[in-house]
């Protein structure tokens, strides 16, 4: 089983929504489409589902060209950001609805709904109506409906976006487990890098209608092919600075920070990308360099601290473990983990990942 987009392009009027895209998704994989709003995630999913047709290019499912085949004739389910349930149906009837349509026998319906309800912790709510449920439970019901039929393709379009923080955390952990033993291809669209990392599988980074990079999630994160992919896959935003290299000496363009590294690249000008968690209030790794800054604000998340600071012309974001309260305007010293720097050439291509 595989889903393949071949030179798929989507234009609306004179605007291009999806630039020529090639993507092959394999059986039993979860694939994350990661990008900000308007990156083209939803358009790509609608093309995959058959809800929308590409302007040019083809979609192949297994060995069949399914371009133009209607969504009803494809075996796929979709879950949206908004919780979509039938308001006058009970949770049981909501989950059972796709099975009823395809004429599954009542006994089997009962068994399959029961099984998926248990998986999604909805067993106690089967007789309730959606409006008696919390937001998280409503979205679980929509997920259960997508899971109850044996779809070849399951498309999840930002399914956790409307949930509050704690529920999102919980469901994000459960989702990959739900798909572990299923014979299908899952596509999951999100704007949040942490979603992709927690889900694992494969990730495609997207920007303005282009698929920038596709591969194993952790590999895309650790070895972004270029600066664009690195930026899409970083939240809080990646710190980027211009540097120069001469021998083993590297320094920021403004000379404020200098470090040694045996990274094997030619002397010259580069950009570095430093993820916020590689700048910390304590030393981490064997090879760190100090940076002095003035605190813009210290944001606390409960178990970690985001310190925004400036060292003259550049603003930086750092992420440290624990609660690190700093006053606005305070001078502070932080440590950058040199071994985790990403180096990009002047064309923004990755030349070394530390």
């Amino acid at each position: 089983m595989s889903l393949e987009l071949k030179n798929v392009e989507k234009k609306v009027g004179i605007e291009t929504h999806i630039y020529s895209t090639n993507l092959k998704l394999e059986k039993n994989t979860i694939n994350v489409l990661l990008g900000s709003t308007l990156a083209g995630k939803t358009t790509l999913m609608q093309i995959m589902a058959g809800l929308d047709k590409p302007t040019s290019g083809e979609i192949w499912f297994n060995d069949e060209n399914v371009t133009g085949k209607e969504v009803q004739k494809r075996n796929c389910s979709m879950v949206y950001q908004q919780f979509i349930n039938y308001p006058n149906f009970t949770v049981f009837e909501n989950i059972a609805s796709p099975l009823k349509i395809t004429g599954v026998k009542p006994d089997e319906i009962k068994e399959r709904v029961g099984k998926v309800a248990e998986l999604l912790k909805l067993s106690a709510m089967l007789n309730k109506k959606p409006d008696e449920l919390s937001g998280g439970q409503q979205q679980r019901t929509a997920l259960a409906r997508a899971l109850v039929k044996d779809s070849d393709l399951i498309l999840l379009d930002e399914p956790l976006a409307n949930l509050d923080f704690k529920l999102r955390e919980e469901l994000r952990e459960e989702l990959p487990k739900l798909f572990e033993d299923r014979d299908c291809i899952v596509v999951y669209a999100t704007t949040e890098p942490l979603d992709a990392l927690m889900i694992g599988g494969n990730t495609a980074t997207l920007l303005e209608g282009n698929v920038i990079q596709y591969g194993k999630t952790l590999n895309v994160y650790k070895k972004p092919e270029n600066l664009t992919s690195a930026k899409v896959f970083s939240d809080p935003p990646m710190n980027i600075a211009e540097i120069s290299k001469s021998g083993e000496i590297f320094k920021l363009k403004d000379n404020s920070v200098q470090w040694k590294s045996n990274v094997q690249i030619k002397d010259g000008n580069y950009k570095i990308g430093i993820r916020p968690h590689n700048i910390t209030t304590y030393k981490e790794g064997d090879n760190s360099v100090e940076i002095n800054g003035k605190v813009l604000i210290s944001e606390l998340s409960g178990s970690e601290s985001l310190i925004h600071f400036t060292n003259g012309k550049l603003n930086w974001v750092s992420l440290s473990n624990g609660i690190q309260q700093k006053n606005i305007g305070e001078n502070t010293k932080l440590f950058m983990n040199v071994d985790e720097f990403l180096y990009f050439d002047t064309n923004n291509r990755l030349v070394s990942n530390g």
Binding site: D164, F165, K166, E169, E173, P176, K177, L194, L197, M198, G200, L218, Y221, K222, P237, R275, H277, L296, I297, S298, E299, L300, S301, G302, S303, L306, H308, L319, N321, G322, I323, Q325, I328, G329
Partner: protein, 370 residues
């Protein structure tokens, strides 16, 4: 750019603000109450100092909006009193209480200029033209709106409009308290930190009592010196961000603050010690045995280490977030989450773990036992 930070502004005539005392407040939307669940708010006692920055934090349905409405006077509590500077204001209506409130969505006049929007609350109170002018310019500068003062509000972005709402709340110097109700909801996620720092900076400059209501832990912990965590109509803990993280007084605080939240596991208490999975777990103090319906051990994922002996667990799943690894493990008492450095080698099948004593707590019927 409205993000230049270190402009010093001379503030001359801010009035002293009020301290706020809430005494045994309870509220029910029902006419008769038979159980705890019938109360939207139960036994709330708070002392807020004059000029402090406070936050009310909790999920939807926890009672924080009810409490906010009681403080502002939109709602009369079923029981209890509200005092501003020791003066009982429970019977006063919202106008008489002199409160500035900033809501989730911008409340501004689209057809007016930014200047007139900011001047509006002052005109209503009959301030002179020169007084109004100096105040509007002062607040305009603080919020970096100076260059847009003569523009119509209609043309501004959502965060631009919300800045005007903030300005309208902050421009009056005669209010007892400024209350913020989820004020950053409409702000683009990438801009939130800028407004957060602005609010914090403003509080430091004008030193007025501010109450910030939110369900978002980052908003609350970043803004407030002291956070009030609410759960099912009750205050479960009042404390600094460090206290809430390091020593949750209630299992809900452990769960809600931090990501992932605290592991809460069933345990027994024997001879003043914790017995978990048949092992004695070192704890900070001797535990008095009282008849609890349930006793639980609380340990944050950050404070669990792999070791050669200790509790035996099965490794279920490892998620590598690039920054650290979140490890799902299981023992016969339930699942335990562990947070480890990304470079940590994770045993593939089963492992032994130990809990850092300093951060191991026991809860009796969800409240910490000390």
């Amino acid at each position: 750019m409205w993000m230049s930070f270190y402009i010093l502004i001379q503030i001359t005539d801010w009035y002293p603000m009020a301290k706020i005392t809430l005494k045994d407040l309870s509220h029910s939307y029902l006419s008769k109450q038979s159980s705890d669940a019938d109360w939207a708010l139960r036994g709330v006692d708070i002392d807020w100092k004059d000029g402090g920055a406070y936050a009310l934090l909790g999920p939807s349905g926890c009672g924080k909006t009810t409490l906010l409405n009681i403080i502002s006077g939109l709602l009369k509590p079923t029981k209890g009193e509200i005092l501003f500077d020791d003066k009982n204001v429970t019977a006063l209506n919202p106008v008489e209480r002199d409160i500035a409130q900033i809501f989730q969505f911008p409340v501004i006049y689209d057809t007016m200029t930014v200047y007139d929007n900011l001047a509006f609350p002052l005109k209503n109170r009959g301030l002179s033209k020169t007084e109004i002018d100096s105040k509007v310019k002062e607040i305009g500068e603080m919020l970096e709106l100076t260059s847009t003062l003569n523009n119509k509000a209609a043309g501004l972005t959502a965060d631009g409009k919300q800045k005007i709402s903030l300005g309208r709340g902050l421009v009056r110097s005669d209010v007892n308290v400024i209350m913020f109700d989820e004020p950053l909801t409409v702000i683009d996620p990438h801009l939130k930190w800028v407004l957060r720092s602005k609010l914090k900076e403003l509080h430091q400059k004008i030193n007025r009592t501010m109450i910030y209501v939110t369900h978002d832990q980052i908003e609350a912990l970043t803004f407030a010196d002291e956070v009030v965590v609410m759960h099912e109509g009750q205050i479960v803990q009042t404390g600094t961000p460090v206290e809430l993280f390091e020593k949750p007084k209630h299992t809900f605080v452990g769960h809600f603050i931090g990501s992932p939240g605290m592991n809460i596991l069933p345990c027994e208490i024997e001879n003043g010690q914790i017995n978990f999975e048949g092992k004695i777990i070192p704890n900070n103090n001797s535990i008095k045995k009282i008849n609890y319906n349930k006793t639980q051990l609380g340990i944050r994922p950050e404070f669990i280490k792999f070791s050669n002996d200790g509790i035996k667990v099965k490794i279920k799943r490892v998620s590598d977030t690039g920054r650290h690894k979140v490890i799902d493990t299981e023992c016969s008492s339930g699942s335990i989450k562990i947070l480890a450095n990304s470079s940590t080698e994770i045993p593939s099948d089963s492992a032994h773990i130990t809990f850092e004593q300093k951060y191991t707590y026991v809860y009796g019927d969800d409240w910490i036992i000390e």
